[in-house]
Amino acid sequence: MTPIIETHNLTVSYNRRPVLWDVDFSLPEGRLIGIIGPNGSGKTTLLKSIMGLVQPDSGYVKLFGQSLDEVRTRISYVPQRESVDWDFPVSVREVVEMGRYRRANLLRRLSSADRDIAADALHKVGLQDFAKRQISQLSGGQQQRVFIARALAQQADLYLMDEPFAGVDAASEQAILQLLTEMKAASKTVLIVHHDLQTVRQFFDWIVLLNTHLVASGPVESAFTEDHLRQAYGGQLTILSKVADLVKERHFPVREKPYKDRP
């Protein structure tokens, strides 16, 4: 079976300083996968480079065994809640309907089928009564559910979510968790950036453990171990972070020739 996500020697910089070094893994389909690691370990950067939002210095990502552009409509990305201005003058329904926007229909009106799909997604997250509210009039957890509804409206097979549980009340957490279970049952794959170690076993069945490099990737039972956690949380590798500083300071390329190891 082709893995749903494959990264090859992925090295990514933020502000010219490498934050991910040679990350190499494959993820299976139909799992709830957590990306775990301390602050600054490159979790969000990894998600963004999978989604093509940041250019890697080297390496590549394959999704469904293909390149991103061939399978873009099968993937949905849920950014951090802070990535938007919640004072923005749009209603809950309008945001969810954005999940039906495509390159192909960008200049046309949404079809009634699209509107129905969006309404259905809103129903699934339990916010149908809030459809007309302006988005600032929601709690943090409700705002997160709006984002997830937008993602559901995309009807993707692979979901990439950046910290969907951050700053979320218990009721919303339960609702989101319930949705994730349903998505798994429908054999969707969900990749989630997560920072709360307490809930890892409860939420996920596969983890990717990062600390500016890949510490472990595997089923929770075998990968979520004391030993791996010590490697991930016991501080960054001194030499690695020193070399990252040197790369930035000397404006040095991470590869002799850019994209040399692309397929």
Partner: protein
């Protein structure tokens, strides 16, 4: 023009000195505006002093510099309060608040100014110099009032320099260690408004923001120290003031402000391009040096692997072993020759000198050490580590090398089971 440079006219001397002082004052205060990321707030304040000047003239009916200054300070401060209110009490963000206040006050200023002009008052002539500045039209009285104001501003800055610096850098920390943050902010805002109100004598309200910000931004490229940055910015401000007076006396029909701003912009462009370390040219040179270093060290590596079989190596051998460009190889070899790392034994045939051998072993050692590090510490498979090492071998410093050796416990073999070449002199396991 000669009359300007001879400075025989005491009025010219005084105005020139005065304008240089204004330039320095605005640039110094501007450094704090800059580090507090309030460049555009400064722009709005500058536009907002115009209605104050017009109102002051309408009320008093004269152009006494003290009254004009008072009017400018009042509306300048009002605009600040207005912007603060909007950003803190409404959902409008800072940029919209700045833009709205700027256009409201400036529109009012223009309306009043045109109304005064149309009223045909005998005294009104010359108010429009506040739009684009006209240094030469300053009277002795003007120079005294604005010069003294600037001196006062400078005195305040020097007295509170450390506190202002801390406030700009970390307001919460300043508060925590018991500095009167509110009071300091009030003082800082007041001297900002004051230096804007005096600076417009030289550049006018429309371009005043440049006299605040551009010297500071240009200075920032040359230094990381706030003191030196302030000093440098003051220097740029003085040069700009002098230039403004020069333009104003030699080309009396020209507005002074735009020329001053063009000069400051040129200083900024030069700083962006040429400043050491932060400048763009410095970065290009660094990157070019990186490429030269990579080329030379890659040639050394080819020597290392070819030397196993024979000592004298032809350029054809090297090109066969690694796809250098012919010109690149020539350049790299000459560079290595200059540094005494290779010597020519026959036409187009070279061999490593003794130091060249040491150096080639060093590069290969770094390559293999980095491969080993990636495979041991990052758990990468052996067939994935080569590409990274190809680049990092040129970057790693002796200090990092020492760390690697210690952390890997002076390894013997790399992940591909090749021996790691040591030098007896440098490292003994």
């Amino acid at each position: 023009m000669s009359s300007f440079f001879s400075f025989s006219d005491p009025n010219v001397q005084m105005v020139t000195l005065g304008v240089m002082l204004l330039g320095a004052g605005a640039a110094i205060v501007g450094c704090f505006t800059f580090v507090r990321k309030r460049a555009l707030v400064g722009d709005a304040i500058a536009h907002a002093v115009l209605p104050g000047i017009c109102l002051s003239f309408m009320i008093t009916g004269q152009k006494h510099p003290l009254w004009l200054l008072a009017g400018a300070v009042v509306t300048g401060w009002l605009s600040l309060l207005f912007m603060d209110y909007i950003t803190h009490r409404t959902k409008l963000k800072a940029d919209a608040a700045i833009g709205a206040v700027l256009s409201l006050f400036f529109g009012l200023g223009i309306l009043l100014l045109t109304a005064i002009q149309h009223s045909g008052s005998a005294q009104q002539a010359g108010l429009d110099k506040f739009l684009f500045g006209k240094a030469a039209s300053l009277t002795q009285q003007d120079v005294i009032v604005f010069g003294l104001t600037t001196l006062l501003v400078l005195l305040v800055v020097f007295t509170f320099f450390k506190s202002f610096k801390l406030l700009a850098f970390d307001r919460d920390f300043a508060h925590a260690i018991g500095l009167p943050v509110r009071l300091l902010e009030f003082v800082l805002s007041t001297i900002t408004v004051l230096s804007v109100a005096t600076g417009i004598q030289a550049v006018g309200v429309v371009l005043m923001a440049a006299l605040l910000i551009t010297p500071a931004a240009a200075a920032r490229f040359w230094t990381d120290s706030m003191q030196r940055m302030t000093g440098l910015a003051a220097g740029f401000g003085i040069v700009a003031g002098f230039f403004g007076a020069f333009v104003s006396y030699t080309a009396p029909s020209m507005p002074t402000g735009p020329w001053i701003v063009l000069l400051l912009s040129a200083i900024a462009v030069i700083s962006v391009l040429l400043a050491p370390r932060r400048g763009i040219l410095a970065r290009w040179l660094l990157q070019a040096e990186n490429s030269r270093k990579m080329l030379a060290e890659n040639i050394l590596k080819s020597f290392f692997s070819l030397s196993a079989k024979k000592e004298a190596i032809s350029e054809a051998d090297i090109l066969e072993a690694r796809p250098f460009s012919v010109t690149g190889l020539g350049r790299g070899l000459r560079r290595l020759q200059r540094r005494g790392l290779v010597q020519q034994s026959a036409p187009r045939t070279w061999q490593l000198t003794e130091t060249g051998q040491i150096e080639s072993r060093r590069v290969v050692r770094l390559h293999r050490l980095w491969e080993l590090y990636l495979s041991h510490k990052l758990g990468l498979p052996a067939d994935h580590v080569h590409n990274s090492a190809e680049a990092m071998e040129h970057l790693l410093t002796p200090e990092v090398e020492q760390h690697l050796l210690e952390e890997l416990e002076y390894p013997v073999l790399d992940p591909h089971d090749s021996a790691i070449p040591y030098d007896i002199k440098t490292d003994a396991p």
